[in-house]
Amino acid sequence: LISARSTALIVGLLAVALFGVLATRDSGPDRISAHLVSQPAPPLAGVSIAGDEWDLDAQRGRWVVVNFFSTTCVPCIVEHKELVAFSEDHPNDVRVVSVAFDDAARSVEEFFRTQGGDWPVLAAKTGHIVVDWGVVAVPESYLVSPSGYVAAKVVGGIERDALEALLTELSGTIRS
């Protein structure tokens, strides 16, 4: 019969070998910050709180910032003024669109009335949009290129300067 010592040695060696193999494997790309990047943007269409039909596909030829937010999320409130400033800097070449996540349309209207921002906001029946884009928590923002591809993803609150730098970098890349 195998002695207890031999059994322990075999089990131990196997465990070390397994640990070694698993520990040295590539962990793969960071899904949270890389999800959807370089892929065609998922569908994004609906009726804005202003009552207009809005469709991401109709924005081809321009950059679009797709912002997922909630009126009850503090980082969303903090980032909002940055988004307002950014949109004022880019009245023609970049479109901003916000998608409310798990929020009442009335709260969203009130939020934009008091905090500013005159871009399209989708607030009704946004559940399927959230799932299509794989959003797990707000705020999350995506930069969609003029050809309809997701060029970058920002997890957490965004800042005007960082967004500006990202846009400059990406537009240079796409041009070249």
Binding site: L1, I2, L22, R25, R31, H35, D57, R60, G61, R62, W63, N92, D93, F101, D102, G127, H128, V130, V131, D132, W133, G134, V135, V136, A137, P146, S147, G148, S171, I174, R175
Partner: protein, 407 residues
Amino acid sequence: MRLTTRSNVLWFALIIGAITTLAIAEIAERPVLTHADRVHRLAEEFACPVCDGQSVAESDVPIARTIRLSIASMVDGGATDDDIRTMLVARFGADIDYTPDGRGWTSLVWVLPVVVASLAVVLVAISVRRWQGKLTYSRKLAKPLILGMVSVLAVLAGLFVAQLSGSRGLGDSLSGEIRSSTRSLLIEAGVSPIGEAISIYTQVLDLQPSNTEALAYRGWAYRRDGNLEAAMADLEAAVQIDPSFPDARVFRASLLLLNDEPARAAEDLVALDALRAPPIIDDLLSATRLRERISSALADEGSLVLALDLLRSGLTAAPRSAGLLAERGWLLVRSGEVDLIDIGVTLLNEAVATDPLNPYALTYRAVVRLVIVGDRAGAESDVLEFESLLFQPTELVALLKSEGLIS
């Protein structure tokens, strides 16, 4: 020791029986009664993406509620468990799937429990026999051999379980064909690398030789892979079987243009305009400017009427398309006919009015303003707008350079 003694045979039979029972218990058919039952069962099979140790069924955070609604919507829409699993894994990552894949390293989660359980049974049996005093010193050397054989058997059984459990739903039977649905094969092909996709489409066509979708998409995969002859054969077959399948029309038109056959490509797009194509097809046409490029190729070979007809056909469906208006205006101006030039200038103005940031409308109008109208200030104003665009197609930059409008 002889391994074929009655006692050892019984032990092996017991172990194999236990492993088989384990496998069957894991993947046996579990009938689902209602849609609500199925939604709940599926929700239990996915982890809430932002929770700690809770499934989508258990959690009440917004994203879990949203995913539950999404599952319910897909179930009501007739989606299979695999469709839903594929969708959720694509959106939220493989980590949320509580039923891990049976391939690669992930299969360890299936293999290891079987191996450990089997070894535990054997060790307990050996310990009991030693405690009973039935194990003599002369048999000691044979035991490592038995353990080794059991280990190999257990690993094979574990791999068997992993293979069966990997990508099947709980409702599938043990002996069923894992990938019997051509629909799930087509979905799988859509997210596979080209070589693998071609192989999967071929599997579908083995099952259903006249499956138009598989033919069209295998043709497109061949085209992307550089095998233009095979691509054309598949696309011709697809259009012949189902002339109303829009995807096949667009793919074939693109290939015909590549083959320098713009007249036949135009026929496909005109036929497409008569169909009720999904919006994604319009998006594809718009993003690739396929219609404009075919029109331009027709005009270049002297078939201006055909080119204009093709653009008119597109404008009937999308009268506010700045790209089509601009292309039509540009071709009319290029014709050199005085009457047509006037109409062309009007169309270019309309294109810019429709979309002031369309690079083609701005460029064509700038050139026309400079060369035909003699309005340099207007041309420079259009060029200024063009230069402010982030996306500047290289052929337009070259055109403006050739006219001396930019340096």
